[in-house]
Point group: D3
Chain length 250, copies 6
């Protein structure tokens, strides 16, 4: 396979580094690094659900995504100064939340809400997939916190979920695009999937010319193929801080 | 194929009705109806581009999407009262804009902006795909307006673009879901594609359980299969108001 | 009497067209056209009243008025982008609401709220009077909806209400000004009145020089004179969709 | 004529008190009191006009109206806390501005803007008419300020403008309603007019039952009849601080 | 001691004028003038506390501070137009509220809230200290209002609080800086203290070069020395409207 | 001296940890930890100044302060969701900015702006003083970045600035209060000063009872006494990443 600017082969994801315990209060806390991309992630448990969910005996998982004003080469204004969350961040945090809800049995969670805050410290492509893959780790840490207090049991995690980007750059199908590659990509596909390569969510845009279904298939396959390695990294990071997923799954 | 609540076969889209000329001022104007879903669409030309695009000799296509407060069984507050566009609408209007930009040669458009306003009058599922399919018609009407004034030439339309939803309801793969089907769907996939079935954008979410890639493939195929009939409807509607796409395409 | 640019005599209102049933969900729905002015109107019933009215056994009627971004020759930003309703729209929607409340016995309505949404599709002068005259039709449709379910009885409509603009252009007293005439008018008067020519609300501004009371009187008389024909058109439109006002009035 | 709760006859306005010079910086500054109603008014000159008026050689007069949070028996939140100007205040400040523009030759003013700030300190009915009548005094003070610096000449004031409310309470036609009367009024009419009783603006609402044109005529006549006394009070207050209107009028 | 531009000696505060009873509704109301600085102050009682304080049997005192748009040589936009309270006003109103809470026994106040509105009419330096010193007077008037109705007893006022600015201009230590002096000051210190010269709050900024502790001490001493005269003025103003502080203090 | 809950003596600041290089893009980047308090700090250079400073040949230093939603035991809403910066954060970021401007020769900086972003990750008291002390380090890193590119010379740093809190808890004068101590403090004083113990800013509030000047003096002395050790820590951290302050100072 062809070599890329950072020496990776086309199907190789970037190096992942997960440092847990960054913050004191969140029930799950970490910095997730994928290459030069870094996201500060915090999962927080609250003992109530939004008004429209009350009394149904089910929980909720939501996410907030925000770029640090200097996560990019040029400093951006904070969203609070704009008085409004920009469309891109809004779209992304909805994706993260859907992906993480797919991992959880909301009935088994009970009437509580877990909010996963994703603050991008450094952006070099793949911030939404990093937020999902790292977000699952923080979420599992928070659920373990509930488990040891006897508030949830096995089965609260329905499945492990991770995400990766794939893209078509020139005639090459590449996995885990950095910013430079992403900018040059004709097609950019974000794949959210389970350890067994089942699809949770797919978002793909042909920024340049539309692509034949064959190319799309090839990209999806490539993305699904990268998921098991990500799930392995999630398990390692969780084990390292004493969380065994098997105790959270049925 | 199985029959649905409204008598359609599983691969049959709903009946489409395109009434053009609803409003006086927009260069392209129509009400697009797909079954019980109705969207008021207006394409407006402005002779300038956003500040960040000035001086590059290229144009821009953008979209705004809004639910009429009574497009649903319960009246909703207007977005202006909330002082903020909700996340869902924001996500949708970004999708519509990307899809329509894929149809246009922005260089050939010159330094002008076309805004496609999509106001949902009645919602019964598929409002985003209706906005894209109908939005293409309004966009072509606006471009024809520029063509007859000699401001753009053939090639300004790069390709015809249409969109459809597909979903997995029970074990059935269905095309063009109405609200009732959409609520029951395990997977919901929106497919934006060209007449020749090339993929422009794909957004699919497994709301319930994740799905094997095979199911995903089957759904994508089904969606792509429905596009040519939509494109034929777009052409008819345009012809009926004197717009021949062949004069806008290279 | 003198002839105007569109051939009307000075006391002739523009041609009115009322198409009911535009939307599926609102209890009253129509597009009201007066000449080139067009307003999409929807009356929605809700089974509760604002907090400050609770427990008083009385209902409420309110209105929202908004210009479609392309209801004018130049596209305007949506009010949601400005994060604020502009002063003119705010002033107009308060007028519409007061006018429509004058038509209803709020005690007989019971603790429910009817919101009349007025979305201007095409603006050629007289959008506020069109909203009131058309708004009464939508309101009556909604009240009929309650009547057939046995929730309100005769007398809930206290009186028929309609509105028209009159103005002084040069030395001519004209009824129902189009945009071009309105721009040239020295005085612009909006008259809201009942079928029996009793005054509900009057708003008149001498944009240029102040006018003697005699001119003001002449204009008011002219406006009141045009109301009965409008009320007749309202009755026709209601009859055509099966609503007999006599069953709603005492 | 009948006597009212405060001993006035039905055609008698409340006692007016105009204290000028309340603030140091505004070119025109005063507290206007009409009975128990009190408004702090400041006219400020700026040497530029809004962007949309630039280069036309004409000036502009605008107004801002705000209730002090404790101008009523119950403390209200400040408009800044609501992040929005309420509809009523917006409607009122547009009326004040139109009324004051009718008093000024905007061409003779040159490219400057005068903003008349009206802050209601105590509300007992008639705050909008107090703002107009007092606003004219502050405006004239500011114009005198320009005149003595040679920046405007005679004719910049086109006419004296004042305003009064009239209403139908029971079967009595009353002038200058206090809050208690206003609450009980079937019809409430605000009349803006010139010293020679020509109409500048009329806003009348039949809150209860609609009224015959004859009643409306009677009210308008009553209102116009009260204007000359108000204009006399304006002249006195201006003279007392050295402003002779004759030097500002043609 | 050296003489200043307005003839004062360096330790002399400006002349204070307190006119009570400006507004009808606030339980405490006055205009506080210190030299050319003028602040309209209103203390309003409400019979409930913010949600987070409910059920604790304690009251709350808060403050709002706002510049009139023409309290400065150039007219400023109203805070409502900016949709946000600026940082400086926010900082100041928090200071005022803390200072006034130090004067009150919140337990003895019971579950009520007193809001002290401070609207700056003319700004010539020292607006925050004027708001505190005058705010105490308005607050005491409001508490007296409660006392005569038997709702609070002696001890509700814990101590008299007043405030003054001091600064280092050139090598001179000056008390109560006007705007011109404030602009030239190397250090600007606001001192909030009690009649017995105990410190409630101190805020000092060395705008230019940092200052030795000795200078800081000298300024603080100077400020504390000016407090008793201010407290005497507060007592006089209160006595003049029938409020004897001794009846409110333990 | 007495021992505290964490074993410190009353005049001992908490242990400081400064990790530089957290983010890739900011010219100065670090996490500053003081005991359990942690702040992510980023200094960003922009090559322009705010509009009101243009053309004066001087630079500007500003700061933004924000609590991470889970920096406290209970998760808080993001400021963007409230559509407004809360008063406390606004007050704090103004203090940070003033303190850091005192450290810089704005003329020597030239027409550039440095923004110091302070995002509190963990709050245990002293977040504003941590932001100032750590902010100086980030600021110096950014200035060194300019120096090595020849854009600023020695003298751009006028003085080293650090900050510490002191307070009166019971009868003990304590330095560097943790949250628990801060909550119990009768007086809370924030001291911003230079290495040579000159005062830059002092903010002190007697939350409970006012304090005699003697206590205030003692606290200020205690605070000033702690500054040199903080400055030593700043120098070490800067040296460790190759920044010698002597090259930035005159």
């Amino acid at each position: 396979m062809a070599t890329r600017s950072d020496g990776r082969s086309s199907d190789a994801p970037r190096k992942i580094l997960i440092e847990t315990g960054t913050q004191r209060f969140p029930e799950g806390s970490l910095i997730y690094r994928s290459g030069k991309t870094a996201v500060l992630i915090a999962a927080s448990i609250e003992d109530s659900v939004p008004p429209w969910m009350k009394g149904k005996g089910r929980g909720w998982v939501t996410a907030e995504y925000e770029m640090h004003p200097r996560s990019n080469p040029e400093r951006q204004r904070r969203s609070r100064s704009r008085g409004n969350l920009d469309g891109r961040s809004s779209e992304i945090q909805r994706l993260i939340a859907r992906a993480l809800r797919a991992a959880v049995d909301l009935g088994a969670l009970g009437e509580r809400m877990i909010t996963v805050d994703c603050d991008v410290l450094d952006a070099d492509g793949g911030t939404r997939t990093a937020s999902i893959t790292g977000g699952f780790v923080a979420l599992a840490m928070a659920l373990e916190h509930l488990r040891v207090r006897g508030l949830v049991g096995p089965g609260v995690v329905r499945r492990e979920v991770a995400a990766i980007s794939v893209g078509l750059v020139g005639d090459k199908h590449l996995v885990d695009l950095c910013y430079e590659e992403d900018s040059a990509a004709a097609v950019d596909l974000n794949v959210v999937a389970t350890a067994s390569a089942e699809v949770v969510e797919v978002q793909g845009t042909a920024e340049g010319a539309p692509v034949p279904k064959a190319d799309f298939d090839r990209l999806l396959e490539l993305g699904l193929g990268a998921i098991p390695a990500l799930v392995a990294r999630q398990r390692e990071a969780l084990s390292a801080c004493g969380v065994e997923l098997s105790r959270l799954m049925a």
